[in-house]
Amino acid sequence: MVIWKQNGASEPKIHVRNVDFYYGGTQALFDITMDVPARRVTALIGPSGCGKSTFLRTINRMNDIIDGVRLTGEILIDDLDIYGDGADVVKLRKKVGMVFQKSNPFPKSIFDNVAYGPRTHGVKNHKQLTEIVEKSLRQAALWDEVKDRLGKNAMDLSGGQQQRLCIARALAIEPDVLLMDEPASALDPKATSKIEDLIDQLCNDYTIVIVTHNMQQAARVSDLTAFFYEGRLIEIGQTEQIFTKPGRKETEDYITGRFG
């Protein structure tokens, strides 16, 4: 599985090796093995309940907050085993940012939302914070819309703006990897296309893993596509290949809309 090598561009950033994942006694992921290339967009697709979101949340260990979960296997980011002994969850999450399905701005000012991460990690200098906030909002293509009202409550922004604010907030801690869990599923087409343009921009600097229900979206934004079904990784490959000549029948059935 050295697909990105054919693309000639990118070393793998994340190695996933034989990952099984359990919620209590229920196994949700079965023997997942894949590589995520650096500075590319990898889309995870599959029907509801196929484990794609669960898998996404293993990459920044967000599943840890649920009682009774268990993971076996290895996930390496930059060759560091994130589930290994002595792995630091705080450091991991600083390196792996996340954007959620439902935008979750904090009920604070726009400025305080973006500054939340840096402040948490010890940045106190106001000038430095101001710079980080501006840079992050520019990266998230939100600066021009909010620069005059940074002190306003983030809850007053539109849905699309809120989601871009959440992206800016994730970027403010300067992660390497950005996980996105259906970031546009609650947005109208115009706001969705803004988010997609943004993903196109961001993948120059960040390794992006995105879960999506929307097949066209996966086709539009991603370099690689991984198809999940019933907790298993059925197939991963270059997006164009997955959508034009899938190697497995399940993938073809899903893409052509026969189930899911």
């Binding site: 967000m62 907050i65 959620f100 979750n104 991460g117």
Partner: protein, 283 residues
């Protein structure tokens, strides 16, 4: 049977019940104001009592009640919030937390005189704190702890899980998340419990009877180890224990009015605080 009619009948019944409640409250307030307002003046509020309360003011009782309110809140609020944070944010939800919650519910149902006896046994006698402000505050704090824990936990649970996840995903520790992204949004709700607690502390007689309240002590306390007078107990004394009950009746109504205003005033302050918090953090 005409469904429309029965619906109307029930509607009116509920409406009348509501009016009745308002009427009862209105009558109590009206009666106390009518009979008590006359005796309230500077002397009544700011002078020491004379002749067993038949003359002079009720300053020591006002100060005593204020001290008891502030003292018991200072003890119970941080404890109660900490317990609520532990129960709602940290503890593994299971048999242990169920047992603790049951204990809290039971504690809330314990009659106040039992708290008084408990305070007498533990603080006054065993810990040798004597009949003092500190004993009274500690006893009252035990009494209001369940109210504060339950209301604080509810306030914490009202904060959406997505805000916790958002904070954790940015690399914040659990404590950082609770401190800067959960507690600030729940303070408004916690203040609601505090208002209830203040009302109880200011009005209870039984717990302070055995731990702090002085029958008649026309001077202000010097330390937390002194006894004080308190409004509800003073009221009780004026109404039932005074040698000349008829003569001090206006003073009793005045005392009741001051107690009422005190509770309403503190409650109003807490409500204003709460509205401000709600405005600041809305979602």
């Amino acid at each position: 049977m005409d469904g429309n009619f029965s619906q109307k009948a029930v509607y009116w019944l509920m409406r009348l019940t509501t009016y009745f409640v308002v009427l009862v409250v209105g009558f109590i307030v009206f009666d106390i104001v009518r009979r008590g307002a006359g005796v309230i003046n500077w002397e009544f509020l700011f002078a020491m009592p004379r002749r067993s309360g038949a003359a002079g003011g009720i300053l020591p009782a006002i100060v005593g009640t204020l001290l008891l309110v502030v003292g018991s809140i200072v003890i119970a609020f941080p404890l109660g919030v900490a317990a609520a944070v532990y129960l709602s944010e940290y503890a593994h939800q299971g048999r242990f937390t169920r047992t603790v919650r049951m204990a809290i519910a039971t504690l809330a149902g314990v009659p106040s005189i039992v708290f008084g006896l408990f305070g007498l046994g533990l603080f006054v006698i065993f810990l040798k704190l004597g009949c003092s402000i500190i004993s009274g505050c500690a006893t009252l704090a035990c009494m209001i702890l369940p109210i504060i824990i339950v209301s604080s936990e509810e306030a914490l649970r009202a904060v959406p899980q997505s805000l916790r996840e958002g904070s954790l995903a940015l690399g914040a520790t659990k404590w950082q998340t609770v401190w800067s992204n959960v507690l600030p949004y729940s303070i408004g709700g916690m203040l609601t419990g505090l208002i209830l607690a203040i009302g109880r502390v200011a009005g209870e007689t039984a717990p302070i009877l055995l731990t702090v309240a002085a029958f008649y002590l026309p001077k202000l306390p010097h330390s937390i180890f002194d006894q004080v007078m308190a409004l509800p107990y003073h009221l009780y004394v004026l109404v039932t224990q005074h040698p000349d009950i008829e003569a001090v009746r206006p003073k009793a109504y005045g005392t009741a009015l001051v107690l009422l205003l005190l509770v309403l005033g503190v409650g109003l302050a807490a409500i204003i605080l709460r509205i401000n918090f709600r405005k600041k953090y809305k979602w």
